[in-house]
């Protein structure tokens, strides 16, 4: 249990992230691209002037999409593996697979779902280029806040657990997180930029597809990484299960 273990877990986390990225790309291509095309059609129906096309739509929706999603998968896989190393044995009596699943769930909630409740994903044509800098800073700030407050909530829960019991401590920490994040969301400026006349259905479908992509990515990562991490950390448990399956 040393630096080599951390390195092995890190490599496996990045591989699991790559695998999850492949699944998320397939999902994004079949479920998400339709609403991107619909948004671009809306964009071009307006008087909006377009410069020359650097990358064609067919490349953007295939190789481009794959590059982005796979690199994203590897990156979050690496970061989540590091978070897993910190969490392991520190968040309660969980095995490697359960810790991996919980880390992935926390990643999905804190890095994606909570931030987008305030600043949802926007398709092309939604969003004024002049406010991009401000919107990007607010989005990053929202992710940072969510991750910090989520970590604080876990620490609070661990602190309360001996006196209150796991159930009550978890509810108290979860409630504290929801209240503080809610206040932050109420105070932060709105990021809404939807142009007049943009079809509400297209916007809804785009955002639903975005949530789906991230859900596929994080859940596939949690399950794949849990499987790979267990083989490093609990080889005896794995062998025991295989033995009972074979018997």
């Amino acid at each position: 249990m040393n630096s080599t273990t951390v390195r092995t877990l890190l490599v496996r986390g990045m591989l699991a992230g790559l695998g999850a990225g492949v699944l998320a790309f397939v999902f994004a291509y079949f479920v998400g691209e339709g609403s991107v095309d619909a948004a671009i059609a809306f964009e071009e129906s307006g008087a909006h002037e377009h410069g020359e096309e650097l990358v064609s739509r067919s490349v953007q929706s295939t190789a481009g999409l794959a590059t982005g999603v796979l690199v994203f998968g590897v990156a979050i896989g690496g970061i989540a593996a590091l978070a897993f190393c910190f969490a392991l044995g520190r968040i309660g009596r969980f095995g490697a697979r359960a810790t991996a699943a919980l880390t992935a769930l926390a990643g999905f909630l804190l890095v994606y779902l909570v931030p987008i409740l305030k600043y949802p994903a926007n398709p092309p044509a939604v969003g004024d280029p002049d406010t991009l800098g401000k919107r990007t800073s607010l989005f990053v700030l929202m992710i940072a806040l969510s991750v910090l407050l989520g970590t604080a909530a876990v620490l609070l829960g661990r602190r309360l657990a001996p006196a209150w019991g796991n159930w009550n401590a978890s509810i108290a920490a979860g409630t504290a997180f929801v209240v503080v994040v809610g206040v932050a969301m109420a105070v932060l400026p709105s990021g809404d930029n939807t142009p007049k006349g943009f079809p509400a259905t297209d916007l809804w479908e785009f955002r639903l597809a975005s949530i789906g992509i991230q859900a596929v990515l994080w859940s596939a990562f949690g399950l794949l990484f849990g499987h790979l991490a267990e083989r490093v950390l609990e080889p005896r448990a794995v062998r025991g299960r295989v033995a009972t399956l074979v018997a």
Binding site: I79, P115, L132, G191
Partner: protein, 72 residues
């Protein structure tokens, strides 16, 4: 499956936490590297620009939108 209590469950062993000293160097080095990757997928040639032009932005355009990053 019907087999429920037959096999002993060796998974319940508590895992010893990895020492922070072992994690820290990896967290700093690889953590920063991963954040740079996220920056290139999520924000390069958008709010800020390290490489001139629009190539990076245009190439990852669809992923940037669908993953939830503010794009344009």
């Amino acid at each position: 499956m019907a087999q429920s209590t037959a096999a002993p469950t060796p998974t319940t062993q508590t895992l010893t936490p990895l020492p922070l000293r072992a994690i820290a160097p990896w967290a700093v080095f690889v953590g920063v590297l991963m954040l740079v990757l996220l920056y290139f997928v999520g924000a390069e040639q958008g709010a800020t620009s390290l490489v001139s032009g629009e190539g990076v932005h245009e190439w990852v355009h669809d992923a940037r939108h669908l993953l939830g990053f503010p794009c344009h």
